[in-house]
Protein backbone atom coordinates (compact mmCIF):
# COMPACT_ATOMS: atom_id res chain seq x y z
CA UNK A 1 0.00 0.00 0.00
CA UNK A 2 1.39 3.37 -0.89
CA UNK A 3 1.07 6.45 1.26
CA UNK A 4 -1.07 9.19 -0.20
CA UNK A 5 -0.48 11.63 2.66
CA UNK A 6 2.85 11.96 4.44
CA UNK A 7 3.20 14.37 7.31
CA UNK A 8 6.58 15.10 8.84
CA UNK A 9 7.19 17.16 12.00
CA UNK A 10 4.19 19.31 11.12
CA UNK A 11 3.89 22.33 13.43
CA UNK A 12 1.77 25.46 13.64
CA UNK A 13 2.41 28.30 16.05
CA UNK A 14 -0.12 31.08 16.60
CA UNK A 15 1.81 33.85 18.33
CA UNK A 16 3.23 31.72 21.07
CA UNK A 17 0.47 29.11 21.15
CA UNK A 18 1.49 25.84 19.54
CA UNK A 19 -1.72 24.58 18.00
CA UNK A 20 -0.04 21.63 16.28
CA UNK A 21 3.19 20.33 17.71
CA UNK A 22 5.60 18.31 15.55
CA UNK A 23 3.18 15.62 14.43
CA UNK A 24 4.09 12.74 12.12
CA UNK A 25 1.84 10.28 10.38
CA UNK A 26 1.01 8.67 7.05
CA UNK A 27 -2.30 7.89 5.43
CA UNK A 28 -2.43 4.91 3.10
CA UNK A 29 -4.22 4.77 -0.20
CA UNK A 30 -7.81 3.61 0.14
CA UNK A 31 -8.19 3.96 3.88
CA UNK A 32 -10.57 6.04 5.93
CA UNK A 33 -8.37 7.82 8.41
CA UNK A 34 -10.09 9.27 11.46
CA UNK A 35 -8.72 12.29 13.28
CA UNK A 36 -10.16 12.59 16.77
CA UNK A 37 -9.52 15.01 19.57
CA UNK A 38 -11.26 17.31 22.05
CA UNK A 39 -12.18 20.89 21.15
CA UNK A 40 -9.11 22.97 20.44
CA UNK A 41 -6.84 19.94 20.04
CA UNK A 42 -5.58 21.14 16.67
CA UNK A 43 -7.67 19.08 14.24
CA UNK A 44 -8.89 21.91 12.05
CA UNK A 45 -5.45 23.52 12.07
CA UNK A 46 -3.99 20.23 10.85
CA UNK A 47 -6.61 19.83 8.13
CA UNK A 48 -5.94 23.38 6.97
CA UNK A 49 -2.25 22.66 6.65
CA UNK A 50 -2.93 19.40 4.81
CA UNK A 51 -5.21 21.16 2.35
CA UNK A 52 -2.78 24.01 1.72
CA UNK A 53 -5.05 26.68 3.18
CA UNK A 54 -2.49 27.80 5.76
CA UNK A 55 1.26 27.37 5.74
CA UNK A 56 2.92 25.31 8.47
CA UNK A 57 5.36 27.04 10.80
CA UNK A 58 7.57 23.99 10.50
CA UNK A 59 7.54 20.55 8.90
CA UNK A 60 6.23 19.26 5.61
CA UNK A 61 3.20 17.67 4.02
CA UNK A 62 3.07 15.70 0.82
CA UNK A 63 -0.14 14.67 -0.85
CA UNK A 64 -0.20 12.14 -3.71
CA UNK A 65 3.57 12.50 -3.82
CA UNK A 66 3.44 16.29 -4.32
CA UNK A 67 5.10 18.43 -1.69
CA UNK A 68 2.45 20.91 -0.65
CA UNK A 69 4.97 23.71 -0.17
CA UNK A 70 6.48 23.31 -3.64
CA UNK A 71 3.60 22.07 -5.81
CA UNK A 72 0.46 23.32 -4.10
CA UNK A 73 -1.62 23.48 -7.28
CA UNK A 74 -0.90 19.88 -8.33
CA UNK A 75 -1.53 18.60 -4.81
CA UNK A 76 -4.76 20.54 -4.44
CA UNK A 77 -6.11 19.28 -7.74
CA UNK A 78 -6.12 15.77 -6.28
CA UNK A 79 -8.13 16.66 -3.21
CA UNK A 80 -11.67 17.44 -2.26
CA UNK A 81 -12.22 19.55 0.85
CA UNK A 82 -15.17 20.12 3.13
CA UNK A 83 -13.88 22.70 5.61
CA UNK A 84 -15.28 22.80 9.14
CA UNK A 85 -16.99 26.14 8.68
CA UNK A 86 -17.64 26.99 5.11
CA UNK A 87 -20.46 27.93 2.88
CA UNK A 88 -21.46 27.72 -0.70
CA UNK A 89 -22.16 31.11 -2.28
CA UNK A 90 -25.56 32.07 -0.93
CA UNK A 91 -26.46 34.22 -3.94
CA UNK A 92 -25.66 31.54 -6.49
CA UNK A 93 -27.86 28.56 -7.25
CA UNK A 94 -26.80 25.06 -6.23
CA UNK A 95 -26.09 24.36 -9.88
CA UNK A 96 -23.89 27.43 -10.35
CA UNK A 97 -21.97 26.66 -7.17
CA UNK A 98 -21.15 23.21 -8.52
CA UNK A 99 -20.15 24.57 -11.92
CA UNK A 100 -17.97 27.21 -10.28
CA UNK A 101 -16.08 24.46 -8.44
CA UNK A 102 -15.65 22.54 -11.68
CA UNK A 103 -14.18 25.64 -13.33
CA UNK A 104 -11.78 26.23 -10.44
CA UNK A 105 -10.54 22.65 -10.73
CA UNK A 106 -10.32 22.78 -14.51
CA UNK A 107 -12.99 20.12 -15.14
CA UNK A 108 -14.27 20.14 -18.74
CA UNK A 109 -17.81 21.44 -19.09
CA UNK A 110 -19.30 18.19 -20.40
CA UNK A 111 -17.92 16.14 -17.51
CA UNK A 112 -18.98 18.81 -15.05
CA UNK A 113 -22.59 18.82 -16.20
CA UNK A 114 -22.92 15.05 -15.92
CA UNK A 115 -21.20 14.98 -12.54
CA UNK A 116 -23.29 17.81 -11.11
CA UNK A 117 -26.48 16.02 -12.09
CA UNK A 118 -25.28 12.80 -10.55
CA UNK A 119 -24.23 14.48 -7.30
CA UNK A 120 -27.40 16.53 -6.97
CA UNK A 121 -29.43 13.38 -7.39
CA UNK A 122 -27.32 11.48 -4.90
CA UNK A 123 -27.67 14.22 -2.29
CA UNK A 124 -31.41 14.68 -2.83
CA UNK A 125 -31.01 18.22 -4.09
CA UNK A 126 -31.89 17.76 -7.72
CA UNK A 127 -35.25 19.48 -7.64
CA UNK A 128 -33.68 22.47 -5.88
CA UNK A 129 -30.76 22.84 -8.28
CA UNK A 130 -31.93 26.17 -9.68
CA UNK A 131 -32.65 27.75 -6.29
CA UNK A 132 -30.21 30.11 -4.64
CA UNK A 133 -28.41 28.59 -1.69
CA UNK A 134 -29.72 31.16 0.77
CA UNK A 135 -33.09 29.42 0.56
CA UNK A 136 -31.53 26.12 1.73
CA UNK A 137 -31.68 24.62 5.21
CA UNK A 138 -28.48 24.00 7.11
CA UNK A 139 -28.47 20.31 6.22
CA UNK A 140 -29.07 21.03 2.56
CA UNK A 141 -26.20 23.51 2.57
CA UNK A 142 -23.88 20.95 4.14
CA UNK A 143 -24.89 18.39 1.55
CA UNK A 144 -24.22 20.90 -1.21
CA UNK A 145 -20.78 21.75 0.20
CA UNK A 146 -20.02 18.03 0.26
CA UNK A 147 -21.21 17.68 -3.32
CA UNK A 148 -19.00 20.64 -4.28
CA UNK A 149 -15.99 18.87 -2.82
CA UNK A 150 -16.63 15.90 -5.11
CA UNK A 151 -16.89 17.86 -8.36
CA UNK A 152 -13.25 17.18 -9.23
CA UNK A 153 -13.59 13.44 -8.47
CA UNK A 154 -10.80 13.72 -5.86
CA UNK A 155 -8.42 10.94 -4.91
CA UNK A 156 -8.42 12.19 -1.33
CA UNK A 157 -11.35 13.73 0.46
CA UNK A 158 -10.90 15.83 3.60
CA UNK A 159 -13.98 16.09 5.78
CA UNK A 160 -13.82 18.31 8.87
CA UNK A 161 -16.78 17.35 11.06
CA UNK A 162 -19.03 16.62 8.09
CA UNK A 163 -22.01 15.39 10.08
CA UNK A 164 -22.09 17.88 12.93
CA UNK A 165 -25.54 19.40 13.19
CA UNK A 166 -27.12 17.09 10.64
CA UNK A 167 -30.26 15.04 11.18
CA UNK A 168 -30.03 11.25 11.29
CA UNK A 169 -30.98 10.85 7.64
CA UNK A 170 -28.48 13.35 6.27
CA UNK A 171 -25.70 12.09 8.53
CA UNK A 172 -26.37 8.58 7.24
CA UNK A 173 -26.25 9.82 3.67
CA UNK A 174 -22.81 11.29 4.29
CA UNK A 175 -21.60 8.13 6.02
CA UNK A 176 -22.95 6.05 3.13
CA UNK A 177 -21.04 8.29 0.78
CA UNK A 178 -17.82 7.78 2.75
CA UNK A 179 -18.26 4.01 2.51
CA UNK A 180 -19.00 4.14 -1.19
CA UNK A 181 -15.96 6.29 -1.84
CA UNK A 182 -13.79 3.95 0.16
CA UNK A 183 -15.12 1.03 -1.86
CA UNK A 184 -14.03 2.76 -5.06
CA UNK A 185 -10.52 3.07 -3.69
CA UNK A 186 -10.57 6.71 -2.59
CA UNK A 187 -8.85 7.89 0.56
CA UNK A 188 -10.75 9.81 3.21
CA UNK A 189 -9.40 11.97 6.01
CA UNK A 190 -12.19 12.50 8.52
CA UNK A 191 -12.34 14.52 11.70
CA UNK A 192 -15.31 13.96 13.93
CA UNK A 193 -16.51 14.18 17.50
CA UNK A 194 -18.75 11.13 17.09
CA UNK A 195 -16.92 8.08 18.37
CA UNK A 196 -19.30 5.53 16.95
CA UNK A 197 -19.03 7.23 13.57
CA UNK A 198 -15.24 6.88 13.71
CA UNK A 199 -15.56 3.33 14.96
CA UNK A 200 -17.89 2.37 12.11
CA UNK A 201 -16.09 4.11 9.29
CA UNK A 202 -12.39 4.33 10.01
CA UNK A 203 -9.68 1.82 9.19
CA UNK A 204 -7.37 3.73 11.49
CA UNK A 205 -7.76 6.65 13.84
CA UNK A 206 -5.34 9.14 15.31
CA UNK A 207 -6.15 10.72 18.62
CA UNK A 208 -4.74 14.20 19.00
CA UNK A 209 -4.61 16.23 22.19
CA UNK A 210 -2.96 19.61 22.77
CA UNK A 211 -1.48 19.48 19.28
CA UNK A 212 0.24 16.14 19.82
CA UNK A 213 -0.72 12.72 18.63
CA UNK A 214 -1.55 10.48 21.58
CA UNK A 215 -2.14 7.29 19.60
CA UNK A 216 -2.63 6.01 16.06
CA UNK A 217 -4.06 2.56 15.33
CA UNK A 218 -7.05 0.60 14.12
CA UNK A 219 -10.04 1.28 16.40
CA UNK A 220 -10.28 -2.34 17.60
CA UNK A 221 -6.59 -2.48 18.40
CA UNK A 222 -6.82 0.75 20.34
CA UNK A 223 -9.70 -0.65 22.35
CA UNK A 224 -7.71 -3.71 23.32
CA UNK A 225 -4.47 -1.85 23.89
CA UNK A 226 -5.68 1.20 25.72
CA UNK A 227 -9.33 0.75 26.55
CA UNK A 228 -8.63 -1.58 29.46
CA UNK A 229 -10.59 -4.53 30.74
CA UNK A 230 -13.90 -5.83 29.60
CA UNK A 231 -16.70 -5.71 32.08
CA UNK A 232 -19.92 -7.50 32.88
CA UNK A 233 -22.85 -5.34 33.83
CA UNK A 234 -25.56 -6.89 35.93
CA UNK A 235 -28.67 -5.82 37.80
CA UNK A 236 -30.79 -7.79 40.26
CA UNK A 237 -34.37 -7.54 41.46
CA UNK A 238 -33.18 -6.43 44.88
CA UNK A 239 -30.13 -4.56 46.19
CA UNK A 240 -27.10 -6.77 46.84
CA UNK A 241 -24.00 -6.45 48.91
CA UNK A 242 -21.33 -5.37 46.44
CA UNK A 243 -18.53 -6.85 48.53
CA UNK A 244 -20.00 -10.33 47.90
CA UNK A 245 -19.48 -9.78 44.20
CA UNK A 246 -16.02 -8.30 44.40
CA UNK A 247 -15.00 -11.41 46.35
CA UNK A 248 -15.68 -13.57 43.30
CA UNK A 249 -12.59 -14.91 41.52
CA UNK A 250 -11.18 -13.00 38.55
CA UNK A 251 -12.75 -9.65 39.40
CA UNK A 252 -10.38 -6.73 38.99
CA UNK A 253 -12.72 -4.02 40.12
CA UNK A 254 -16.34 -3.15 40.79
CA UNK A 255 -18.31 -0.01 40.01
CA UNK A 256 -21.93 0.72 40.57
CA UNK A 257 -23.99 3.03 38.45
CA UNK A 258 -27.64 3.34 39.41
CA UNK A 259 -29.04 -0.14 39.99
CA UNK A 260 -26.39 -1.64 37.74
CA UNK A 261 -23.16 -3.18 38.93
CA UNK A 262 -20.12 -3.28 36.64
CA UNK A 263 -17.58 -6.01 37.25
CA UNK A 264 -14.23 -5.54 35.50
CA UNK A 265 -12.64 -8.78 34.45
CA UNK A 266 -10.51 -10.43 31.80
CA UNK A 267 -12.57 -13.63 32.13
CA UNK A 268 -16.15 -12.59 31.38
CA UNK A 269 -17.34 -16.18 30.98
CA UNK A 270 -16.20 -17.12 34.48
CA UNK A 271 -17.76 -13.96 35.91
CA UNK A 272 -21.12 -14.72 34.31
CA UNK A 273 -21.15 -18.25 35.74
CA UNK A 274 -20.26 -16.80 39.11
CA UNK A 275 -23.14 -14.32 38.91
CA UNK A 276 -25.62 -17.06 37.99
CA UNK A 277 -24.47 -19.14 40.97
CA UNK A 278 -24.70 -16.10 43.21
CA UNK A 279 -28.26 -15.29 42.12
CA UNK A 280 -29.34 -18.88 42.80
CA UNK A 281 -27.68 -19.11 46.16
CA UNK A 282 -29.02 -15.78 47.40
CA UNK A 283 -32.43 -16.32 45.78
CA UNK A 284 -32.32 -13.20 43.59
CA UNK A 285 -33.41 -12.82 40.01
CA UNK A 286 -31.11 -11.28 37.38
CA UNK A 287 -32.90 -8.44 35.54
CA UNK A 288 -30.22 -7.58 32.99
CA UNK A 289 -26.83 -9.06 32.15
CA UNK A 290 -24.45 -7.63 29.54
CA UNK A 291 -20.86 -8.19 28.55
CA UNK A 292 -19.25 -4.95 27.48
CA UNK A 293 -15.96 -4.26 25.80
CA UNK A 294 -14.35 -0.87 26.06
CA UNK A 295 -15.51 1.51 23.36
CA UNK A 296 -13.53 3.97 21.33
CA UNK A 297 -15.03 6.55 23.64
CA UNK A 298 -13.36 4.86 26.62
CA UNK A 299 -10.06 4.98 24.75
CA UNK A 300 -10.62 8.60 23.83
CA UNK A 301 -11.47 9.65 27.37
CA UNK A 302 -8.49 7.79 28.76
CA UNK A 303 -6.09 9.45 26.37
CA UNK A 304 -7.45 12.95 26.56
CA UNK A 305 -8.72 13.48 30.08
CA UNK A 306 -6.72 15.90 32.17
CA UNK A 307 -4.82 14.47 35.09
Amino acid sequence: MKNVIEVKELTKDYNGLTAVDHINFEVEEGEVFGFLGPNGAGKTTTVRMLTGVIKPSFGSVSVMGFDLGRHPIRAKEAMGVVPELSNAYADLSAWNNLQFMAELYGIPKRVAVARAEELLTRFDLYDRKGHTVKTFSKGMKQKLVTAMSLMNDPEILFLDEPTSGLDVQSARLIKEMVRELRDTGKTIFLTTHYMDEASQLCNRVAIINHGRIAAIDAPEKLKVRIGGLQYVEVSFTAPVDVSDLSAMTGIAGVRTSGDKIQLYTDEPDRTIRGLVDYSQSSDLEIVTLNTLTPTLEDVFVKLTEEA
Binding site: V53, M79, P83, S86, D91, L92, Y105, G106
Partner: protein, 245 residues
Protein backbone atom coordinates in the same frame (compact mmCIF):
# COMPACT_ATOMS: atom_id res chain seq x y z
CA UNK B 1 -0.55 29.43 -16.58
CA UNK B 2 -3.40 29.24 -19.10
CA UNK B 3 -5.26 27.07 -16.60
CA UNK B 4 -4.85 29.75 -13.96
CA UNK B 5 -6.13 32.43 -16.35
CA UNK B 6 -9.21 30.32 -17.06
CA UNK B 7 -9.79 29.91 -13.36
CA UNK B 8 -9.38 33.66 -12.84
CA UNK B 9 -12.09 34.10 -15.45
CA UNK B 10 -14.34 31.73 -13.47
CA UNK B 11 -13.79 33.91 -10.40
CA UNK B 12 -14.59 37.04 -12.39
CA UNK B 13 -17.81 35.43 -13.59
CA UNK B 14 -18.74 34.56 -10.03
CA UNK B 15 -17.99 38.14 -8.89
CA UNK B 16 -20.13 39.64 -11.65
CA UNK B 17 -23.03 37.35 -10.79
CA UNK B 18 -22.88 37.95 -7.07
CA UNK B 19 -21.59 41.47 -6.59
CA UNK B 20 -22.06 43.51 -9.75
CA UNK B 21 -25.34 42.55 -11.35
CA UNK B 22 -27.36 44.31 -8.70
CA UNK B 23 -29.55 47.33 -9.30
CA UNK B 24 -28.21 49.48 -6.45
CA UNK B 25 -24.58 48.76 -7.31
CA UNK B 26 -25.07 49.85 -10.89
CA UNK B 27 -27.13 52.93 -10.02
CA UNK B 28 -24.63 53.97 -7.37
CA UNK B 29 -21.82 53.45 -9.86
CA UNK B 30 -23.40 55.92 -12.29
CA UNK B 31 -24.74 58.43 -9.82
CA UNK B 32 -21.94 59.03 -7.33
CA UNK B 33 -19.41 60.50 -9.76
CA UNK B 34 -22.20 62.38 -11.51
CA UNK B 35 -23.34 64.08 -8.31
CA UNK B 36 -19.86 64.96 -7.15
CA UNK B 37 -19.19 66.34 -10.57
CA UNK B 38 -22.35 68.44 -10.74
CA UNK B 39 -21.72 69.82 -7.28
CA UNK B 40 -18.46 71.34 -8.46
CA UNK B 41 -19.30 72.28 -12.01
CA UNK B 42 -22.61 74.07 -11.70
CA UNK B 43 -22.23 77.77 -12.40
CA UNK B 44 -18.77 77.51 -13.84
CA UNK B 45 -18.21 78.36 -17.42
CA UNK B 46 -16.12 75.57 -18.91
CA UNK B 47 -16.29 73.87 -22.31
CA UNK B 48 -18.50 70.79 -22.38
CA UNK B 49 -15.77 68.49 -23.74
CA UNK B 50 -13.53 69.50 -20.85
CA UNK B 51 -16.33 68.59 -18.46
CA UNK B 52 -17.17 65.27 -20.05
CA UNK B 53 -13.51 64.24 -19.97
CA UNK B 54 -13.42 64.97 -16.24
CA UNK B 55 -16.69 63.13 -15.64
CA UNK B 56 -15.45 60.14 -17.60
CA UNK B 57 -12.19 59.97 -15.63
CA UNK B 58 -14.12 60.14 -12.37
CA UNK B 59 -16.65 57.55 -13.43
CA UNK B 60 -13.96 55.02 -14.28
CA UNK B 61 -12.25 55.84 -11.01
CA UNK B 62 -15.34 55.44 -8.83
CA UNK B 63 -16.83 52.41 -10.52
CA UNK B 64 -13.56 50.47 -10.68
CA UNK B 65 -12.83 51.10 -7.02
CA UNK B 66 -16.40 50.64 -5.76
CA UNK B 67 -16.96 46.89 -5.51
CA UNK B 68 -13.51 45.30 -5.73
CA UNK B 69 -12.55 46.32 -2.17
CA UNK B 70 -15.61 44.77 -0.53
CA UNK B 71 -15.29 41.29 -2.01
CA UNK B 72 -12.59 40.00 0.34
CA UNK B 73 -14.23 41.23 3.58
CA UNK B 74 -17.64 40.01 2.41
CA UNK B 75 -16.33 36.56 1.61
CA UNK B 76 -14.54 36.53 4.95
CA UNK B 77 -17.82 37.10 6.67
CA UNK B 78 -19.88 34.72 4.56
CA UNK B 79 -17.16 32.06 4.94
CA UNK B 80 -16.56 31.38 1.29
CA UNK B 81 -12.83 32.06 1.46
CA UNK B 82 -11.60 28.78 2.87
CA UNK B 83 -13.22 26.96 -0.03
CA UNK B 84 -11.36 29.25 -2.46
CA UNK B 85 -8.10 28.90 -0.56
CA UNK B 86 -8.36 25.11 -0.78
CA UNK B 87 -8.91 25.22 -4.55
CA UNK B 88 -5.97 24.74 -6.94
CA UNK B 89 -5.52 28.45 -7.62
CA UNK B 90 -2.95 30.95 -6.41
CA UNK B 91 -3.82 34.17 -4.61
CA UNK B 92 -2.70 36.00 -7.74
CA UNK B 93 -5.36 34.11 -9.67
CA UNK B 94 -8.06 35.09 -7.19
CA UNK B 95 -7.01 38.74 -7.36
CA UNK B 96 -6.82 38.69 -11.15
CA UNK B 97 -10.35 37.37 -11.23
CA UNK B 98 -11.52 40.14 -8.91
CA UNK B 99 -9.73 42.75 -11.03
CA UNK B 100 -11.19 41.39 -14.24
CA UNK B 101 -14.76 41.64 -12.94
CA UNK B 102 -14.12 45.16 -11.70
CA UNK B 103 -12.62 46.18 -15.05
CA UNK B 104 -15.63 44.90 -16.98
CA UNK B 105 -17.91 46.84 -14.67
CA UNK B 106 -15.81 50.02 -14.96
CA UNK B 107 -15.77 49.82 -18.74
CA UNK B 108 -19.50 49.15 -18.99
CA UNK B 109 -20.42 52.07 -16.75
CA UNK B 110 -17.97 54.43 -18.48
CA UNK B 111 -20.16 54.15 -21.55
CA UNK B 112 -22.72 56.29 -19.74
CA UNK B 113 -20.69 59.55 -19.69
CA UNK B 114 -19.38 58.84 -23.19
CA UNK B 115 -22.91 58.51 -24.56
CA UNK B 116 -23.93 61.56 -22.57
CA UNK B 117 -21.07 63.50 -24.12
CA UNK B 118 -21.99 62.40 -27.61
CA UNK B 119 -25.57 63.47 -26.98
CA UNK B 120 -24.23 66.88 -25.98
CA UNK B 121 -22.33 67.12 -29.24
CA UNK B 122 -18.85 66.20 -28.01
CA UNK B 123 -16.88 64.44 -30.74
CA UNK B 124 -14.23 61.83 -30.04
CA UNK B 125 -11.07 62.80 -31.88
CA UNK B 126 -8.98 59.79 -30.82
CA UNK B 127 -11.29 56.84 -30.17
CA UNK B 128 -8.49 54.29 -30.04
CA UNK B 129 -6.55 56.21 -27.41
CA UNK B 130 -9.77 56.67 -25.46
CA UNK B 131 -10.52 52.94 -25.47
CA UNK B 132 -6.97 52.09 -24.47
CA UNK B 133 -7.03 54.69 -21.71
CA UNK B 134 -10.32 53.44 -20.30
CA UNK B 135 -9.16 49.81 -20.20
CA UNK B 136 -5.82 50.72 -18.64
CA UNK B 137 -7.36 53.00 -16.08
CA UNK B 138 -10.00 50.43 -15.18
CA UNK B 139 -7.27 47.86 -14.53
CA UNK B 140 -5.22 50.36 -12.59
CA UNK B 141 -8.06 51.51 -10.30
CA UNK B 142 -9.37 47.97 -9.79
CA UNK B 143 -5.95 46.89 -8.57
CA UNK B 144 -5.91 49.95 -6.32
CA UNK B 145 -9.28 48.85 -4.92
CA UNK B 146 -7.78 45.52 -3.93
CA UNK B 147 -5.16 47.25 -1.81
CA UNK B 148 -7.95 48.72 0.32
CA UNK B 149 -9.37 45.27 1.01
CA UNK B 150 -6.07 43.76 2.11
CA UNK B 151 -6.71 44.65 5.75
CA UNK B 152 -7.68 41.27 7.25
CA UNK B 153 -11.12 42.38 8.34
CA UNK B 154 -14.60 41.08 7.72
CA UNK B 155 -16.14 44.55 8.12
CA UNK B 156 -16.98 46.05 4.76
CA UNK B 157 -17.54 49.40 6.50
CA UNK B 158 -13.89 49.57 7.61
CA UNK B 159 -12.74 48.97 4.08
CA UNK B 160 -15.20 51.50 2.65
CA UNK B 161 -14.01 54.15 5.07
CA UNK B 162 -10.39 53.45 4.24
CA UNK B 163 -11.08 53.69 0.53
CA UNK B 164 -13.11 56.92 0.88
CA UNK B 165 -10.26 58.50 2.81
CA UNK B 166 -7.98 57.90 -0.14
CA UNK B 167 -10.43 58.36 -2.99
CA UNK B 168 -11.84 61.80 -2.21
CA UNK B 169 -8.52 63.60 -1.75
CA UNK B 170 -7.34 62.01 -4.99
CA UNK B 171 -10.27 63.48 -6.87
CA UNK B 172 -9.28 66.99 -5.77
CA UNK B 173 -5.63 66.78 -6.67
CA UNK B 174 -6.12 65.21 -10.08
CA UNK B 175 -6.88 68.17 -12.32
CA UNK B 176 -10.50 67.23 -12.83
CA UNK B 177 -12.09 70.46 -11.73
CA UNK B 178 -9.19 72.72 -12.62
CA UNK B 179 -6.89 71.94 -15.55
CA UNK B 180 -3.46 70.81 -14.38
CA UNK B 181 -1.67 73.63 -16.19
CA UNK B 182 -3.66 76.20 -14.21
CA UNK B 183 -2.61 74.73 -10.85
CA UNK B 184 0.23 76.27 -8.85
CA UNK B 185 3.49 74.39 -9.04
CA UNK B 186 2.94 72.45 -5.83
CA UNK B 187 -0.51 71.52 -7.13
CA UNK B 188 1.01 70.25 -10.35
CA UNK B 189 3.53 68.21 -8.40
CA UNK B 190 0.74 66.70 -6.28
CA UNK B 191 -1.35 65.97 -9.36
CA UNK B 192 1.50 64.05 -10.93
CA UNK B 193 1.30 61.56 -8.05
CA UNK B 194 -2.29 60.57 -8.80
CA UNK B 195 -3.16 58.00 -11.46
CA UNK B 196 -6.49 59.79 -11.91
CA UNK B 197 -4.59 62.78 -13.35
CA UNK B 198 -3.28 60.74 -16.24
CA UNK B 199 -6.52 59.14 -17.29
CA UNK B 200 -8.31 62.49 -17.13
CA UNK B 201 -5.52 63.99 -19.22
CA UNK B 202 -5.86 61.15 -21.73
CA UNK B 203 -9.61 61.71 -21.93
CA UNK B 204 -9.03 65.39 -22.65
CA UNK B 205 -6.66 64.39 -25.42
CA UNK B 206 -9.25 62.02 -26.84
CA UNK B 207 -12.01 64.64 -26.76
CA UNK B 208 -10.21 67.95 -27.23
CA UNK B 209 -7.06 66.84 -29.00
CA UNK B 210 -4.92 68.65 -26.45
CA UNK B 211 -3.49 67.58 -23.13
CA UNK B 212 -1.02 68.60 -20.46
CA UNK B 213 1.30 65.60 -20.55
CA UNK B 214 2.47 63.80 -23.67
CA UNK B 215 0.18 60.82 -24.44
CA UNK B 216 3.05 58.39 -23.95
CA UNK B 217 3.62 59.73 -20.46
CA UNK B 218 -0.06 59.29 -19.61
CA UNK B 219 -0.09 55.72 -20.81
CA UNK B 220 3.27 54.92 -19.27
CA UNK B 221 2.21 56.35 -15.92
CA UNK B 222 -0.98 54.28 -15.89
CA UNK B 223 1.03 51.17 -16.68
CA UNK B 224 3.48 51.87 -13.89
CA UNK B 225 0.68 52.50 -11.40
CA UNK B 226 -1.07 49.30 -12.51
CA UNK B 227 2.04 47.18 -12.06
CA UNK B 228 2.79 48.73 -8.67
CA UNK B 229 -0.78 48.41 -7.37
CA UNK B 230 -1.07 44.81 -8.51
CA UNK B 231 2.25 43.84 -6.94
CA UNK B 232 1.35 45.52 -3.66
CA UNK B 233 -2.13 43.99 -3.62
CA UNK B 234 -0.74 40.49 -4.16
CA UNK B 235 1.86 40.89 -1.42
CA UNK B 236 -0.64 42.23 1.07
CA UNK B 237 -3.33 39.67 0.32
CA UNK B 238 -0.86 36.80 0.58
CA UNK B 239 -0.22 37.98 4.09
CA UNK B 240 -3.81 38.65 5.08
CA UNK B 241 -5.65 35.68 3.59
CA UNK B 242 -4.64 33.15 6.29
CA UNK B 243 -5.73 35.62 8.95
CA UNK B 244 -9.21 35.79 7.54
CA UNK B 245 -10.09 32.13 8.06
Amino acid sequence: MIDQMRRAYAIAKKDVRIYYLKGPVIIFGVLSPAFLFLAFMIGRDLPVDFLIAGLLGMTIFFTSTSVAPVIAPTETQTRNLERLAAAPISITTILFGDVLASVLFGIAISLVPILLGMALGVSITHPFILALGIVLAAFCFSAMGLIFSSAPTSMTSTVMMLSMMVKFPLVFISGIFIPVQELPLWGQALASLSPLTYITDLCRYAFQGACHYPVVVDIGALLVFLAAFMAIAIKLHERSLPKRL
